[in-house]
Symmetry: C2
Subunit: 146 residues, 2 copies
């Protein structure tokens, strides 16, 4: 069990490091890629929805959106129906970068899953999905609202 968490840390760290390496020349760090990727896959998403999608606190979304906006990767648009809501859109610059970001992700997955069969890879995804569901259910129960 202790092993378990340690392992997740190692993989998370590696992922960020890999993305850092590949994307720093574009003015993005390994953490920001995660946010930008989500925005590009859900254009017009609200910051609150982003926080839920990415399992991070909404304060981090606010800060990263400011950074990405200053970097010219996204723009925010106040929702007409609900003026509290900021809808987030990728800029053309971000969209142009997406194929490359996808290739970086693919490359990293290939490195991570080297030596695993397709079945094992799928099995792993499925099992992790289940664990996340369990974790979220517990987190919901203790009601750290976020």
């Amino acid at each position: 069990m202790a092993t378990f968490l340690k392992n997740l840390n190692a993989i998370s760290r590696g992922t960020t490091l890999f993305r850092d390496e590949k994307l720093k020349s574009f003015g993005l760090n390994g953490h920001q890629v995660k946010y930008l990727f989500a925005v590009c896959n859900s254009e017009g998403v609200s910051q609150d929805e982003l926080a839920n999608l990415l399992f991070v606190n909404k304060s981090n979304v606010a800060r990263q959106m400011t950074a990405l906006e200053e970097g010219g990767f996204i723009r925010r648009e106040q929702s007409a129906e609900d003026k509290r809501v900021s809808k987030v859109f990728p800029t053309q610059k971000a969209k142009s970068l997406m194929p490359f970001i996808r290739s970086v992700n693919d490359e990293w997955r290939a490195i991570l899953c080297a030596g695993l069969s397709e079945e094992e890879c799928g099995q792993l995804s499925r099992l992790l999905e289940k664990l996340v569901e369990n974790a979220r259910q517990w987190e919901g129960k203790v009601d750290k609202n976020s």
Copy 2:
């Protein structure tokens, strides 16, 4: 793939949160448990070895050892053979706490793995182990010494 990393974050966060909840009354937070657990399972380990075991930067080990020492959970002893090395030992206080820490870990694993069979749980551990190995190999290749 994007999903993949997000999932790891959610599980990591849940683990820390759970440990925070259960152990704060003992003066330990969710992160420190990880370090203390490793020390208790490898009495006399060096800080450098701890960093490798836990996949964290050695600077964090130094800081957490200072905190754990101040909290009365560990003591450091300069190695006689190599005066650069600090050997780290758990105090009696820490040892007494270990059964409880183990039960917290077990409880969390039970929550995480609810709905999974023994075989699936084992399979998951095995697959993650492989991924970590792959990640470490890549991290070693880019030589971020740490």
